[in-house]
């Protein structure tokens, strides 16, 4: 009788743990994506609302003479969206909000801007991190980025078109030099307006990071319509 009880309880325990694992896999593979998609849509909606109801955007596009953007723009607030990123290589409809900070909760709602890196469009390095897997898989196709690919970012007043300069570069997690104002090992030899994207490598692991660098190629006021890189 006791043997029977033990065997039965043990098998029930195994079944329970198995069910738990299956449920957790469903959560990670599917439910985080559902949640992230609705969170990203929410952030995009908030941005659109702010841009359509806020003060009229009078900021002219950053002049291409090497001077920094005028500092009158409001500061990025931690955890708040401030821009939308488009990468045609990832799909025509690929548009993700960029939020300030790289906290775990922030990255679940969109891409995260490294708080200590440069602002959008100024001299320095605008560095952004994003999930490769789970939470909507925003950077799933990261390895497909090629030199010349456009990364277009809008902050509500200006379109910034960055161009990827190298194939994605694989590095170690502690290599913070890749988000320096002039990123090391990137091949850039002087100050400029750079963009760095980071995600995890391998796809489901965390032993390495994948890095992509781009430089600012063109700016245009939002009122001028979508830039050429998004129209093709």
């Amino acid at each position: 009788m006791t043997v029977r009880l033990i065997v039965r309880t043990f098998s029930e325990l195994c079944l329970t743990i198995g069910t738990l694992i299956v449920l957790f896999v469903v959560y990670v593979l599917y439910w985080t994506g559902v949640r992230a998609d609705s969170a990203m849509d929410g952030e995009l909606g908030r941005l659109q609302d702010r841009w359509s109801t806020g003060p009229v955007a009078t900021a002219s596009p950053a002049p291409d003479d090497g001077k920094p953007h005028e500092p009158a723009a409001p500061a990025y607030r931690d955890g708040e969206p401030f821009a939308v990123m488009y990468i045609p290589r990832f799909g025509r409809d690929w548009a993700k909000p960029v939020l300030e900070g790289t906290a775990t909760g922030t990255l679940q709602k969109g891409l995260g801007h490294y708080a200590r890196t440069a602002r959008l469009g100024v001299t320095g390095n605008f560095a952004v991190a994003g999930h490769r897997r789970t939470y909507g898989d925003p950077f799933k196709d990261f390895p497909r980025l090629r030199p010349g690919d456009a990364v277009v970012i809008s902050d509500g007043t200006t379109w910034f078109t960055y161009r990827i300069d190298k194939r994605p570069y694989r590095t170690l997690p502690g290599d913070i030099g890749v988000i320096d104002p002039v990123p090391g090992t990137s091949g850039y030899d002087g100050p400029g307006r750079y963009l760095t994207l980071t995600t995890c490598e391998p796809e489901w692991g965390h032993s390495h990071r994948l890095i992509a660098w781009a430089h600012l190629d063109a700016t245009a006021p939002v009122v001028a319509g979508r830039p050429a890189a998004l129209r093709s």
């Binding site: 309880t9 990670v28 939470y135 997690p173 913070i176 980071t198």
Partner: protein, 64 residues
């Protein structure tokens, strides 16, 4: 375990089945709402930055 629960649920077989279903759904909800969101960041899929785990001191130092 499950036999013990089944025996201690009130009502006839149909009522028991209904209560079991509600209990199971409630547990799944609790898991998805609270337990899994806590457990998931412990897995490696969140490590997408290059300065994670470097500590605040390092980040402050990097601001200079």
């Amino acid at each position: 375990m499950y036999g013990w629960i089944w025996r201690h649920l009130p009502g006839n077989a149909w009522v028991k089945a209904l209560i079991s279903l509600v209990l199971a759904l409630a547990i799944v909800f609790l898991l998805f709402q609270y337990v899994f969101p806590w457990a998931e960041p412990l897995l490696p899929f969140n490590d997408v930055t290059v300065d994670q785990g470097m500590g605040a001191a390092q980040q402050m130092g990097a601001v200079r």
